[in-house]
Symmetry: C2
Subunit: 710 residues, 2 copies
């Protein structure tokens, strides 16, 4: 299936399901990481054999110690290294000799401390390569597998989490301790829990592929501070989401310049643009989260319950105010209020008190007890016009909170429809919330988080429905012509391709460049202009001139042969006078397009994700409104459409306020061809089309100006 299903996959399987473990560097000194690791493994009811390895100790917790890992006679599936970083390489070398190919390196003091640490990391990498060892870490908290057939807490976390269906992968070890504590209080369970630290060998990508095939894992959570292989991450995410339907939720920290620099100072990595990270995640279908709590809010919705089929929400509340707040939140997140069928309304009318509000949001009134909640919630769940139910409760003096919680759990079990709850308050509602959480009813303290969780789950469902097709590969491309031009320029040591050459590269990729040519005499210019058809534009061609406009090197809107002759002379005259040292190679003449809406397009290279396509509104819009967006190449048709729809200016293109709709179809093609160009011509560092002029529907679009940086 994928590259990882090889040796590495087998090694990973032994990391999560070892039959025997050697803990290299074990100790009896309480309060140390090595001690906690041994202790945690023993406490976790591990279904296998533990071999402590220690140069000093005779035994640990009544288990015999070995001086070296090579002293163990029986086979060892997994070694966990907790030695100081300075001697880790020796321990790893011995693991290799012993034939151990699965290792977790807990020890810190590698790349993250810089200097000698970087050397040490390279050293262990080399040893691992030599022996075919796969390892997690270094500088990590360890690995947890809650599967009862293994039951392993090979970490120095305070305790084992509950078993569940969330796979959690984190680059930060310390964050894991907060996550485990948070999850424990909320009865959130995990399938696999991995702190992968410096990812010197096994990366988040390997782990993602592993979790794809892990039957215990339904939802994957990822905390990243650094993306070392952007395209690999995106490919993995697409593969996992499309083939297994498992959602991936991710936090990428270091979003601000200051945050990125804080991350760099403790991971030693360089950051790409946060905007590109967002775009790439969006393309892959990864659900990006801002913080841990937000990630779990969405994760529990997706783990515990069905994905929503549509966005019509019924709200059941015992309080008007919170009903209003929840309605606001529902609408704000792009969901709708469900309309009940006449049958449901009739049941509510007959069974709820007169003062109740039987329209959505349904107010069962402050003195409601469990029976009233039960009727309202069950019939809302039953109603075909309802896709999801939000139950709100405030603790009024007569509210039987725990009974209501139990009723809700019972109703939820009867229907395959999302049911989320918000018991507002904290102390009095705690026991009720605990019941909900134990029964896997997603609970939220805020209607905002509840609505957002539903909305993200619904968007993911839509994403699965409309899985993207691979980007088209156009077969009318003249790659060799484009490469010839680019190679020649690079050979000549140039960093910049003038328009006369840039348009040829675009042409080779089938991009709509207006008719053009280069003339080096007045006669040629007049003839060429006539052939192109008036009006035309003339621009001086010279490697020595950057700002052509300022020295009279550009003349627009030339409408007759006479004007063409005048323009040619004027350009030569003006340029020779103002920049006598500049070598003039001729005059670039192209058809002038003077209508259409201005769009900008471009290619950039991101340090993490490689070629990126930019699309946006031209002119003053890009300057002031920053009305642009980005996607990582390859860009397929659906993505191109999303890019166009993603800018506000698209209202203008699609004909807002009585305007004639513009030729959006042709723009979509341009974006896709540009994507292919970006992938096939890695010579190009940056490319700008500014503007692309988009004509009325079916009339196409034209590149009015372009620049290529090498």
């Amino acid at each position: 299936m994928t590259a990882v299903h090889t040796e590495k996959f087998t090694n990973l399987q032994k990391i999560f399901y070892p039959g025997s473990i050697a803990i290299v560097g074990a100790t009896r000194s309480v309060g140390t990481v090595p001690y906690d690791i041994v202790n945690n493994i023993l406490k976790s009811d591990f279904q296998g054999i533990v071999y402590p390895v220690s140069p000093r100790e005779q035994f640990i917790s009544s288990i015999k110690c070995y001086k070296y890992v090579t002293d163990i006679k029986d086979p060892v599936d997994l070694a966990i290294l907790v030695f100081p970083s300075s001697v880790c390489h020796l321990a790893l070398e011995q693991c290799g000799e012993k034939g151990i190919t699965s290792v977790i390196i807990i020890s810190a003091g590698f790349r993250e401390v810089g200097g000698k640490g970087v050397e040490r990391e390279n050293q262990i990498r080399e040893i691992a390569d030599n022996y075919g060892i796969s390892f997690i870490g270094p500088n990590c908290l360890g690995v947890i597998n809650t599967d009862a057939t293994c039951s392993l807490n090979a970490s120095f976390a305070r305790r084992m989490p509950e078993a569940g269906n969330i796979g959690f992968l984190s680059q930060s070890g310390a964050l894991c301790t907060a996550v485990l504590d948070y999850a424990r209080a909320k009865h959130i369970g995990f399938s696999k829990f991995v702190s992968f630290g410096n990812k010197a060998d096994i990366s988040e990508i390997d782990l993602l592929y592993y979790l794809k095939d892990d039957p215990q894992t339904k939802v994957i959570l990822l905390y990243l501070e650094e993306i070392s292989d952007g395209p690999g991450l995106i490919a993995a995410a697409k593969n996992i989401i499309n083939e297994s339907g498992k959602p991936i939720l991710a936090i990428k920290s270091g979003r601000t310049v200051e945050g990125a620099s804080a991350a760099a100072s403790h991971t030693g990595s360089l950051a790409g643009s946060d905007e590109i990270v967002g775009a790439a995640f969006e393309q892959a279908g990864i659900i990006r989260c801002d913080h841990i709590e937000g990630m779990f809010n969405i994760a529990i919705a997706m783990t515990y319950q069905e994905l929503p089929h549509n966005n019509r929400i019924a709200i059941i509340t015992n309080a008007g105010g919170p009903g209003v707040l929840t309605t606001d939140a529902v609408i704000h997140e792009g969901l709708r209020l469900a309309e009940f069928t006449p049958e449901t309304t009739e049941i509510f009318r007959r069974n709820l008190p007169k003062t109740a509000n039987i329209k959505n949001p349904v107010d069962v009134i402050g003195d409601a007890r469990a029976d009233r909640y039960s009727i309202a919630v069950s019939h809302a769940m039953k109603d075909d016009g309802v896709d999801g139910v939000f139950v709100i409760l405030t603790p009024q003096s007569m509210t039987d909170i725990e009974t209501i919680a139990r009723e809700i759990c019972a109703v939820a079990a009867d229907y395959k429809k999302p049911l989320y709850a918000s018991f507002m308050g904290e102390a009095d509602v705690a026991a009720g919330i605990d019941i909900l959480q134990r029964h896997k009813i997603p609970h939220y303290s805020l209607p905002e988080s509840m609505s957002r969780a539903y909305s993200r789950a619904y968007r993911f469902k839509q994403h699965l429905r409309t899985a993207s097709r691979p980007a088209p590969v156009f077969d009318d491309i003249d790659i060799s012509r484009a490469h010839a031009i680019l190679d020649a320029a690079i050979k000549a040591g140039r960093y910049y391709l003038p328009e006369a050459e840039a348009v040829q590269v675009l042409e080779a990729y089938g991009l709509p460049v207006p008719a053009h040519g280069v003339a080096s005499s007045e006669e040629e210019a007049v003839a060429l202009a006539g052939k192109i058809g008036f009006p035309v534009v003339m621009k001086v061609v010279s490697d020595d001139i950057v700002h052509k406009f300022d020295i009279g090197g550009v003349i627009l809107n030339i409408t007759t042969a006479d004007e063409a002759g005048d323009a040619f002379r004027s350009i030569y005259g003006s340029v020779s006078e103002k920049m006598p040292e500049a070598v003039i190679k001729g005059v670039f003449i192209s058809r002038m397009i003077s209508e259409g809406e201005e769009i900008i397009l471009g290619i950039k290279r991101d340090p993490s994700f490689g070629p990126v396509i930019m699309f946006g509104a031209g002119g003053i819009f890009v300057e002031i409104c920053k009305d642009v967006n980005f996607r990582v190449a390859p860009v397929d048709e659906r993505t191109a459409e999303e890019m166009i729809k993603g800018v506000k200016f698209s209202a203008i293109l699609s004909g807002a306020r009585g305007r004639v709709p513009k030729d959006i179809e042709s723009v979509k093609k341009v974006i896709q061809r540009l994507s292919q160009l970006a992938l096939e011509c890695p010579h190009i560092k940056e490319l700008d089309i500014n503007p692309l002029l988009v004509l009325d529907e079916k009339n196409g679009c034209y590149v009015a100006d372009t620049k290529i940086m090498l």
Copy 2:
């Protein structure tokens, strides 16, 4: 001081500090609201006398009952009505006879149920008026005063909150129960706690003024579903904030159309625009919050600690990942990372381990215990380059959470600087968080909430520093001229003022209208155009024509006397031909301004807040980017400046990317004059200036087109 400091204020004082209370409608039936009220008052250790009034009971909780309130011989300060709504008016009448002027009406079944309920509410209002009674409610949870000299829980909330410095006012009763439960768990205390229900008499405005002078209240929280007196609310908020410096935090629910309609269905009120609510709150200095949790996040920061003097934050953490997340959040909220002085850095270098990150965010490393936190936090607090300190903790196996919490509390007490904490996780960190909360250290589960709270507190501090001056009243205004034109139009039954008249109204208010006039013959037109100075614009004047352009009724850019004559004839000819029935009153001629940046300005009337001024970018910007903002009149100079800076287009006006800066000063004046016009000419329903053309600095601006709707 304010109108409320009269009879109503005295009555309110007796509601919060009664010496004796009659509970009218008391009962011994457990599980009813009347029972809970009596029980809560008795349990709350109320420092006064309670008189239960009941037609049926002999005594309640060993206290003698009276049949009617008039049977009580001693004076009664406060009556609490818990009778069914159908008989409330009788009880209120008797209160009046007894001379009771302070009443709380708990009973529901009034305006909120519509129909008969509305009548009942009018009836009790009338009775209250007759007897000079002030009352809170009906349809409310009641009132709580934690002041030990009174100690009153006159509500049917489950229990009395802790004493504290937050005054809480809520239109929703049910929401109060959730708030009290939430606050109890977090040791958040209240000074006064009021559910004001239908506010048929005492409104949130009266209560705001009361809390202004309440020495126990430091911060005021307000939950509103309906704004009945917008200008009154704004005036009260400004008065309170500017004179007492007490922050007001408010939630206004019903932000979406659906939410507003849900609110209307249970308050029976109509909503204005949510955008205007936001603008009005901003102007008054009210801190708008999205939800209860967000409101308390900010409230505890402002209640427990000093307001921040500046925005330089030091982060102390035992985990790199959360340090990065917190840095992102700090920057995202417009705060900055503090730079430590060399002295602080040296202390960190000497006292923290080698592996620690001694730059901000300071990472004291996972194995940090209280001593390390103590050094880092205290020296960060001491550093003059630091305005606030954020302490982050993750529960690692060796972290002594509670000791660290106690150390933090001790350090915070030594400095007058904000110190906030985030102990990440939930179960293991709970005891530590409890210590922080008891010691009034603001604690947040998310770095996002922590940063937002600091940022809002800091913004409020800035607001207090730059208190706005009253809006100027221009004295060069010709009100009578403006009124004459408007009155005449209204008298004539017109709903629309044509440009020829509209510009005169603007002129009367000193707005920059280009030279203009009306001509009814060709000779007059030529002469007038000459007098005005070319180029000019000509537009047909006729009450019968809406779309002048379409029938040749407008000619632009007339540059000579000959052209002026031609234009006049052309307009008469074309209009007479195409609309022979239209009465032509002449031709409006004005100087044509063909340069400058396009701005739009307008006056609208909001149902809650009255006259509102709109400012925005003109042309395509307003259409696509919605680049506009609103302020409630009167608009002072600072507010006018905020309006201009509040749109993205202001970058263009102030000369972005090498453009010449435009005359922003003149635009500020126009906004303020328009504000005065809006206030002094209530005839005007809507006014549009589209566009206002803004010329280069010191060259002014011009109204290029305007419309007035009556």
